[in-house]
C-alpha cells in the first residue's frame, strides 16, 4: 500500500451564496499521477487553488505528508515541496527563461548572506540546468519568456515548477492549447518524472487523451461534488461520468 501524500478532507468552498466545492475529499498516493476532471465550472480549479493555498476553504482540512496545511500561507507551499503551474500562464514575462527557472529555485537559494548574494549559486545551478535540459528549453535559455511561442511558455511553467524540486506537482491544464506532438512529449516527460524521480502529480486537465494515458487514478467532479473515482478504465465506463459529460441520453444508449 502506497503512502497517501496528499489528503483533502471534506473541503467545502463557498463564494457568497454559491457553493463551488461541496464536501469534497481526495487522496493522492505517493508516486502516482492523479487526474481531476469534470465539465467546465465543476470546481476543479477551485479545489486546485485550495490545495495550493490561493483560496481558503470554507470548511474541511488539507493534509500534506501528515502536516495540516489548511491554514498555511501560499508562499510556504514551495518550502513544503508543493509546486504548481497556472492555467492562464503566469510567467515572469520580461525575464529570461533562465531567470524564470532560477526564481523557481528561490527556496533553495537561502542560507547565509554570502549564499543569498550569489548570482549563480553552484549547487542550485546544476539542478536548474538539468531542469532546463529535460524540458527541452536549452536553446531558449536567454530568451525572454514573453517572446517564446505558446508551447514553450507552457513548458517554462512546468520547468519553473520543477525547479522547486517538488514532491507534489500540481498542474492546472498543462496540455490546454498544445499540439498533438507537444502533448505526446508532455506525456513522456510526466511519466518519466513519476517513474524515475518518484514525483507525485495532481493534474487538472481537459485533454482526455493525456488524462487516460498517464493517470493512475482519476477523480471526476461535477457541480462541486465528486461523482466518480477509479482507474481511467473504470471512470471511462461510469454512467454518471458519461452523463455529466454528454447528457442523459448518451448514458443510457
Amino acid at each position: 500500500m502506497r503512502k497517501e501524500l496528499l489528503k483533502v478532507e471534506n473541503v467545502t468552498v463557498r463564494f457568497g451564496g454559491l457553493v463551488a466545492v461541496n464536501d469534497f475529499s481526495l487522496n493522492v498516493a505517493q508516486g502516482t499521477i492523479h487526474a481531476l476532471i469534470g465539465p467546465n465550472g465543476a470546481g476543479k480549479s477551485t479545489t486546485f487553488n485550495c490545495i495550493s493555498r490561493f483560496y481558503q476553504p470554507t470548511s474541511g482540512r488539507i493534509v500534506f505528508d501528515d502536516t495540516d496545511i489548511t491554514h498555511a500561507p501560499a508562499s510556504e507551499m514551495a518550502r513544503y515541496g508543493i509546486a504548481r503551474s497556472f492555467q492562464n500562464l503566469e510567467l515572469f514575462n520580461e525575464l529570461t527563461v533562465l531567470e524564470n527557472v532560477m526564481i523557481g529555485a528561490h527556496v533553495h537559494c537561502g542560507g547565509s548572506l554570502p549564499d543569498r548574494l550569489q548570482a549563480k549559486p553552484p549547487a542550485v545551478m546544476r539542478h536548474i540546468e538539468e531542469v532546463i535540459e529535460r524540458t527541452g528549453l536549452g536553446p531558449y535559455r536567454e530568451h525572454k519568456a514573453r517572446n517564446l511561442d505558446f508551447g514553450h511558455q507552457k513548458l517554462l511553467e512546468l520547468a519553473r515548477a520543477l525547479a522547486i524540486r517538488p514532491r507534489l506537482l500540481l498542474l492546472d491544464e498543462p496540455a490546454a492549447g498544445l499540439r498533438n506532438r507537444e502533448i505526446a512529449s508532455l506525456d513522456r516527460l510526466l511519466t518519466d518524472l513519476v517513474r524515475t524521480d518518484g514525483l507525485t502529480v495532481l493534474i487538472v486537465e481537459h485533454v482526455m487523451q493525456l488524462v487516460m494515458s498517464i493517470s493512475d487514478r482519476v477523480t471526476v467532479l461535477n457541480f462541486g461534488t465528486k461523482i466518480a473515482e477509479g482507474t481511467p478504465q473504470e471512470v471511462r465506463n461510469d454512467p454518471a461520468v458519461i452523463e455529466a459529460y454528454l447528457g442523459k441520453e448518451a448514458a443510457h444508449a
Binding site: N49, F54, Y55, F86, Q87, N88, E90
Partner: protein, 300 residues
C-alpha cells in the same frame, strides 16, 4: 479650554467641516470614478481643479462674461480637456506599455504641465482672489457662524453628487460605467465600447473637478499650487476605501470635519498634517477603508 468654548469650537468645526468637506467629497468622487474603472490614481486631479479655477477666473474677471456663461464654459472646457487627455495621451501610453505605473507617471506629467502652463499665462504668478457669486454675509446656525456662500457651496455640492449618483445608478450610461468597473471584459462582450466609456468617465471626472474648483476658489487665495488640495481628496478617497463611491463622499465629509477640528483645537499650522494623519490612521486601523468590501480574490 473650558467646556463652553469646546462646544462652540465643536459646532463651528462641524459646520465649516461640512462645507469644505463637500468639496473634498466631490474631489474624492472624481478620483474614485477614474480609479474604479481604470485602476489609475489620477495625480493630476488637483491640477485639473486648479486649471479649471483659472479658466473660470479668466472668463469671469478678465473677459467679464456673465456668471452662467463662465461657469458652463469652464465645465465644458474641463470635460473636454480631461476626455482629450484620456483619449489621446493615455490610450497611447497603454499602447506603448502595459504597466499601470506608466499611466500614473503620465498623470504626474499632466499635473506638472498644467501647473507650468498656468504660471506661464501670468495669472498664476501672484495669488488672486476669486469673486464670490453669493453674498458672504454670515448667519448663525446654533453657535456656528456660516456665510450664505458656505450654504450655497454645500447645497451645490450635494445637488451635483445627487445628480451623479442618479446618473450612475439609473441611466444606461451609468450602467455601462458600472459594468466597466466590475468586469471590463464582460462589459466589452455585451457591447459596451470601453474606449468611449473611459473617455466619458475622464471627462466627467474633469467636470466634477471644475465644479469643485468653482466652489472652493472663493474660499481660498488662488495660486498655481492650489492643486495641492487634492491631498485631502485622496485622503477622503482612502478613508472611503478607494473603490467605493458612497465611501468617497462620506470620506470627504469626515476629512473636512477632521481638518477643521484640528485647525480649531490644535493649530492652524497642523492642518497640513491632517490628511496624512488621516491616511495613516485608516491604514493602521482599517486598511480596507471604512467602506471597502472584502478583498477580491484574483482568479488564477
Amino acid at each position: 479650554m473650558d467646556l463652553q468654548l469646546a462646544l462652540l469650537f465643536l459646532q463651528q468645526g462641524v459646520a465649516s467641516g461640512l462645507v469644505v468637506g463637500s468639496v473634498y467629497a466631490l474631489l474624492a468622487l472624481a478620483i474614485v470614478i477614474i480609479f474604479k474603472t481604470s485602476e489609475v490614481p489620477n495625480f493630476a486631479q488637483g491640477e485639473m481643479l486648479m486649471a479649471a479655477g483659472y479658466v473660470a477666473l479668466y472668463l469671469l474677471v478678465f473677459r467679464a462674461l456673465p456668471a452662467w456663461a463662465s461657469i458652463s464654459m469652464t465645465i465644458v472646457v474641463a470635460f473636454a480637456g480631461a476626455a482629450l487627455f484620456r483619449r489621446v495621451v493615455l490610450t497611447q501610453v497603454a499602447h506603448a506599455s502595459g504597466s499601470p505605473v506608466n499611466l500614473v507617471i503620465a498623470t504626474l506629467g499632466l499635473s506638472y504641465v498644467l501647473k507650468g502652463l498656468v504660471r506661464q499665462t501670468g495669472f498664476g504668478d501672484t495669488p488672486r482672489s476669486f469673486p464670490a457669486l453669493v453674498s458672504t454675509d454670515s448667519l448663525m446656525i446654533g453657535q456656528a457662524s456660516v456665510t450664505r456662500l458656505d450654504l450655497a457651496i454645500l447645497g451645490t455640492a450635494i445637488i451635483v453628487m445627487a445628480a451623479f449618483f442618479w446618473m450612475f445608478g439609473y441611466t444606461k450610461l451609468g450602467r455601462a460605467m458600472r459594468s466597466v468597473g466590475m468586469n471590463p471584459k464582460a462589459a466589452q462582450l455585451v457591447g459596451v465600447n470601453l474606449n468611449r466609456i473611459h473617455t466619458i468617465i475622464w471627462g466627467l471626472s474633469g467636470a466634477i473637478s471644475a465644479i469643485a474648483a468653482l466652489l472652493i476658489s472663493p474660499k481660498l487665495l488662488m495660486t498655481a499650487d492650489m492643486g495641492s488640495v487634492v491631498t485631502l481628496g485622496f485622503a477622503a478617497a482612502i478613508v472611503g476605501g478607494f473603490a467605493s463611491l458612497p465611501g468617497a463622499v462620506v470620506g470627504g465629509f469626515i476629512i473636512g470635519i477632521v481638518e477643521q477640528l484640528v485647525g480649531l483645537f490644535v493649530s492652524s499650522r497642523a492642518i497640513t498634517l491632517a490628511p496624512f494623519l488621516a491616511i495613516m490612521l485608516v491604514l493602521i486601523l482599517r486598511p480596507q477603508g471604512l467602506f471597502g468590501g472584502r478583498v477580491v480574490i484574483k482568479k488564477v
